[in-house]
Structures are given as structure tokens and as C-alpha cells.
């Protein structure tokens, strides 16, 4: 536990008087994919936004590599190597694909030459973007936009990658590509926290998972344990 790359302890957060997270604890190790599961409104996005520093925590603590980072703003967490790919992907629609990719390197403060190399590597990894570098990001299709978000993460090369519903609204072939990318991140040694409504899909790539309900973790375990759990099967997988 001490060497978890991302550790969340008893986190509480919400919007105004509405408390969404009622004390959530979880952790993600290096080279580990952890799925965050739960229905719409369970608090997944709130948890991820709080972890990324976009939403202030009301209570609880946050650790990166064992160092406390509670209360740090998003830009400082990004500089420490935490990257959130938010729901809706967080692209800049009015800017070109190329500029979106370059912005991925912002937190790393790379010199221009190295940034160009990283961007080229990302465009090579996601060839669907290679011919569209000068297009407005807003002109891309939904699947292409998700690839752009992943390619931008490729440039950012985070130590902790937080993905908020990356497969939502995508055609099946894109969903497949998203989960291939998630596996790659694990192989590269990043800690991946993956929020998904699509439990069956998520648990095929994840090592472990947490089930969030009404702002609280109600279940946790390895992917196999969760898949076998009668409660999960009944509530989320539609099986018997």
C-alpha cells in the first residue's frame, strides 16, 4: 500500500451544499489498471475531477507517490505527472489537431524539438490523425476525437492516467482501440484509473476494480472476483 502511485483516503467532495463523495478510499499502483465502476450519478466523474484537482476536496487526503498533494490545483498535479482525460475528452475544438497534441506536452515543458518528436510519435501511434493534423479538432468524428485525446495523453506521457468514460458513445471498433490503448499504458508502467459504465468491457482490461454507489465504495476486488460476484452480475451485468 505504501508504494501506491495514486492513493485516495476518505475523500469527500461535492458541488456547493450537495455532497457527492461521502468518504472514498482507493489506490492505484504503477503498471496497474483499476476500473471504477458504477451507474450514472454514482459519483465517478466527481471522484476523478477531485483527484485531478479540478474540484476542491471538502475532506480526505490525496497522495501521489506517497507524497501528500491534497488541495493542489490541477496545473500542479499535471506537472507532477497526473493526467485526466475528462468526460467529453477535453479537446480544444477551435484549435488544430496538431496544436491539441502539442498542448499535451505543456506540463512537461519540453523544448520545441523534443515536443515535435513526441508529437510525431503520437501521430504515428494513432495513424487516423496523421493526415488530419491541420484540421480543426472540432471537425473530427467522435471516434477520431477520442483517438486525439489518447494521442494527446501519449504526448503528455503521464505517470498517472485518469480516464473518464473513454468508450461512451463510440462505435464498437473505436471502443476496441480505446481498450488496446489502456493495455499499452499498463505495459508502460503507468497507473491507470478507468471510470466506465460498460463494466464487462472494463473488467476485461482491468486488474482490480471498485464499485461506487451513492458516493461510496460498496465493493472492491480483483477483476475476476468482481466478475464472479453475484451482486455485480445482478446489478450491472444483467446476468443471473
Amino acid at each position: 500500500m505504501g508504494d501506491a502511485r495514486l492513493k485516495v483516503v476518505n475523500l469527500q467532495a461535492g458541488y456547493g451544499k450537495l455532497q457527492v463523495l461521502k468518504g472514498v478510499s482507493c489506490h492505484v499502483g504503477a503498471g496497474e489498471v483499476v476500473a471504477l465502476l458504477g451507474a450514472n450519478g454514482a459519483g465517478k466523474s466527481t471522484l476523478l475531477r477531485t483527484v485531478a484537482g479540478l474540484l476542491p476536496a471538502v475532506g480526505g487526503r490525496l497522495f501521489l507517490d506517497g507524497n501528500e498533494v491534497t488541495g493542489r490545483p490541477a496545473e500542479q498535479l499535471a506537472a507532477l505527472g497526473l493526467l485526466l482525460v475528462p468526460e467529453g475528452r477535453g479537446l480544444f475544438p477551435e484549435m488544430t489537431v496538431l496544436d491539441n497534441l502539442r498542448l499535451g506536452g505543456h506540463a512537461r515543458r519540453l523544448p520545441a524539438r523534443e515536443l515535435a518528436v513526441c508529437v510525431a510519435a503520437a501521430a504515428a501511434r494513432y495513424p487516423v490523425l496523421a493526415g488530419r493534423l491541420t484540421e480543426r479538432a472540432g471537425n473530427l468524428s467522435g471516434g477520431q476525437q477520442q483517438m486525439l485525446a489518447l494521442a494527446r495523453a501519449h504526448v503528455a506521457a503521464p505517470r498517472v492516467l485518469v480516464l473518464d468514460e473513454p468508450s461512451t458513445g463510440l462505435a464498437p471498433q473505436w471502443v476496441h482501440d480505446v481498450f488496446i490503448a489502456v493495455r499499452e499504458w499498463r505495459e508502460r508502467g503507468a497507473a491507470v484509473l478507468l471510470a466506465e459504465q460498460n463494466m464487462a468491457q472494463a473488467l476485461t482490461v482491468a486488474d482490480r476494480g471498485y464499485v461506487l454507489e451513492n458516493g461510496q465504495i460498496v465493493l472492491e476486488g480483483t477483476a475476476a472476483e468482481l466478475l464472479a460476484s453475484p451482486a455485480v452480475r445482478k446489478a450491472y451485468l444483467g446476468g443471473e
Binding site: 485531478a52 484537482g53 479540478l54 490545483p73 490541477a74 496545473e75 499535471a78 506537472a79 493526467l83 485526466l84 475528462p86 477535453g90 479537446l91 480544444f92 475544438p93 477551435e94 484549435m95 496538431l98 496544436d99 502539442r102 498542448l103 499535451g104 505543456h106 506540463a107 512537461r108 520545441a112 515535435a116 518528436v117 508529437v119 510525431a120 501521430a123 504515428a124 496523421a130 493534423l133 494527446r152 503528455a156
Partner: protein, 332 residues
């Protein structure tokens, strides 16, 4: 796979180079009976500087200011008061004026930039009105009567006596501002600013310090407006500096110029300022020729109608419209 190349030197800087050539030649063209246009072009240079400061703030950073005439005023009046009342050397007065505009922006920006959208528009509008009222009511600034006999800046030597004497100073400053903005636009800081404009939360998640960047853009923009103020006081109108030019109408006009020119290009401010000035003069000229002179209301009406037409036909501004026309011409 070759790495995508950074925009080449020529692509970033060809615009500034062409503009520099035009500025150098402009005062020596055979203007003939249109010689009265040269001082007007000088004023257009000051407006270019002002509109460009808004292209930076509104176009790149996405933050509206409806009080920019206030920073223009701070620049002009700090220079004017320091030179005529406190008898500072004009260079020191000018430097103090630009710093004062930046300082006011720094102090106010810390408060108003936490606001967004309509609230920011209203807050900056109030800021502009407050600055205007301070100047109107203060005894230091001469109030409504204004200041007289400010130091006059001209290009040194023989050149200074001719029509180019003030023209070169104003357009030199405008050129520097435009070249700097073209450079900034292609730099990592420019990218980060546009990211803030598109989506603040997403920019922050990528490591952009949103508030500090907005504040920097606000201060830089105000300092550009301050430079315009100094040039207005010392170059364009050194015999008399009054408060008329610095009201809400000017603030709105500046936003108009920036939007009309196009917020997505560093050249928007230049094109918008020139277009508005040319439109105003053109209508007056035509009205004179047709014997409508004195029917000022009709001129205003036509002016307003053409502006509305332009904004509805080219909501992205004149620079993209120009590019579209050029592309079409290039295709055929």
C-alpha cells in the same frame, strides 16, 4: 514518419515584413489632394494598437473587456500629467504611463478575471466608466477642460518635419505590437492562451496555470493600450488632451474593430481598425460628393447598417473572409 515541422520562419513573419514595407512607404505616396488622410492614418495606427490589444485579450485569451478605453486613458493621462504638471522628461513620463496602465490592470485583473462571460463584460465596463469619471472629476487631469501643450514627439532629424514625423512613431509601435502578437500566437504561450479560451478546465488539466495566464494577458493588453495612450498624447494630439476620446463609446468601438477584423488572427485588430476608419471616412467623402454634407445622421445610419451587414455576412471577421476569397481565387 517525419516529425510535423514547426511553422516555418517565413510563414510566421511574412505578414510583419510586408506590413513594415507598407508602413515605410505610405507617407511618401503621391497623396495629392488626399494629403489630409495621412494624419488620419496616424490615428488609425493608434486604433490598430488598441484593437490589437483586444485581439490579444479577447481573441487569444477569450476574455472580454468593455473598459479598454480606460487603460488607453490611464496611458494618455499619466503621460500628460507627468509631463505637464510634474514636469518629468517625456520619456520617463511615457514609461511611467505604460507601467501605470499595467499596474491598474494587475490590481483590477486580480479581482475581475475570476468572473466569466457577462459578469466579466459588466465588471470591465464598470472599470472603464470609473477610470473615465476619475479623469473627468480630478483636478490633476484638468477635468473636462483637459491638458494643454504636452511635449510633442517626432522622428528626429529632417524626417520629423514632414508628414512621416509622427506617422513613423505610431506605426512603428503598432508594427512591433503586431509582430509580437504574430510571434506569440505561434508560441507555446499562445497555444496555452487559446486553450484557456476554448476550455479552462481542460487547459488546467493539461498543466496550464489558467488564472496567471489570464492575468498576464490582461496586463499585457492593458500595457499595449497604455502605449496607444502615450502616442495619442505625445504624437497625435500634443496641443490638447481632453477626456472625450476615452469614454464608453471608444471601448465599444475597440471591441467592434477587434471582432470585425477577426478574433482568430493576430491581424484582426489591424484589419478591423483600418476597415472601420476607412468606412467612416469613405461615407463622409461620398456624402460630401453627393451634396449630403451636414446630414450627419444619414452618414451614421449608413455606417451602422454596413457594420451590421459585415458582421452578419462575416461573423468570423474580415481576415477569414479575405482568406476564403483568396482560396477561391486560387482554386479557379
Amino acid at each position: 514518419m517525419t516529425p510535423p515541422r514547426a511553422p516555418s520562419w517565413w510563414r510566421i513573419y511574412r505578414g510583419p515584413l510586408v506590413l513594415l514595407a507598407v508602413v515605410l512607404v505610405a507617407p511618401w505616396l503621391p497623396w495629392g489632394r488626399f494629403g489630409y488622410l495621412v494624419p488620419l492614418l496616424q490615428l488609425a495606427g493608434i486604433y490598430t494598437l488598441l484593437a490589437t490589444s483586444l485581439t490579444l485579450l479577447l481573441g487569444m485569451a477569450g476574455q472580454i473587456s468593455l473598459g479598454h478605453a480606460g487603460f488607453f486613458a490611464v496611458g494618455a493621462y499619466t503621460a500628460g500629467v507627468a509631463a505637464t504638471v510634474w514636469h518629468w522628461p517625456s520619456g520617463v513620463a511615457a514609461l511611467a504611463a505604460v507601467l501605470a496602465a499595467g499596474l491598474v490592470a494587475l490590481l483590477c485583473g486580480g479581482m475581475v478575471l475570476r468572473l466569466r462571460g457577462h459578469l466579466l463584460a459588466l465588471a470591465t465596463l464598470c472599470l472603464g466608466v470609473i477610470l473615465y469619471e476619475l479623469i473627468l472629476k480630478s483636478s490633476l487631469t484638468g477635468g473636462a477642460a483637459g491638458l494643454y501643450d504636452l511635449p510633442e514627439w517626432r522622428v528626429p532629424g529632417r524626417l520629423g518635419a514632414g508628414p512621416a514625423g509622427g506617422f513613423y512613431l505610431v506605426w512603428g509601435a503598432a508594427w512591433l505590437a503586431l509582430a509580437w502578437l504574430a510571434h506569440l500566437s505561434a508560441s507555446p504561450a499562445g497555444r496555452a492562451l487559446r486553450a484557456v479560451r476554448d476550455d479552462e478546465a481542460a487547459a488546467a488539466a493539461l498543466g496550464v496555470d489558467v488564472f496567471v495566464l489570464k492575468l498576464k494577458a490582461f496586463v499585457a493588453s492593458a500595457m499595449l493600450a497604455g502605449v496607444a495612450g502615450v502616442l495619442y498624447a505625445f504624437v497625435h494630439s500634443p496641443s490638447y488632451l481632453g477626456p472625450e476620446e476615452f469614454g464608453l463609446t471608444t471601448s465599444v468601438l475597440l471591441v467592434m474593430m477587434a471582432v470585425l477584423g477577426g478574433l482568430n488572427s493576430p491581424w484582426g485588430g489591424l484589419v478591423g481598425a483600418l476597415a472601420v476608419m476607412a468606412l467612416r471616412e469613405g461615407i463622409t467623402l461620398v456624402a460630401d460628393q453627393c451634396g449630403f454634407s451636414g446630414a450627419a445622421r444619414i452618414e451614421q445610419l449608413v455606417y451602422g447598417l454596413i457594420l451590421i451587414l459585415l458582421l452578419t455576412r462575416a461573423p468570423q471577421g474580415l481576415v477569414p473572409l479575405w482568406r476564403r476569397v483568396c482560396c477561391r481565387a486560387g482554386d479557379s
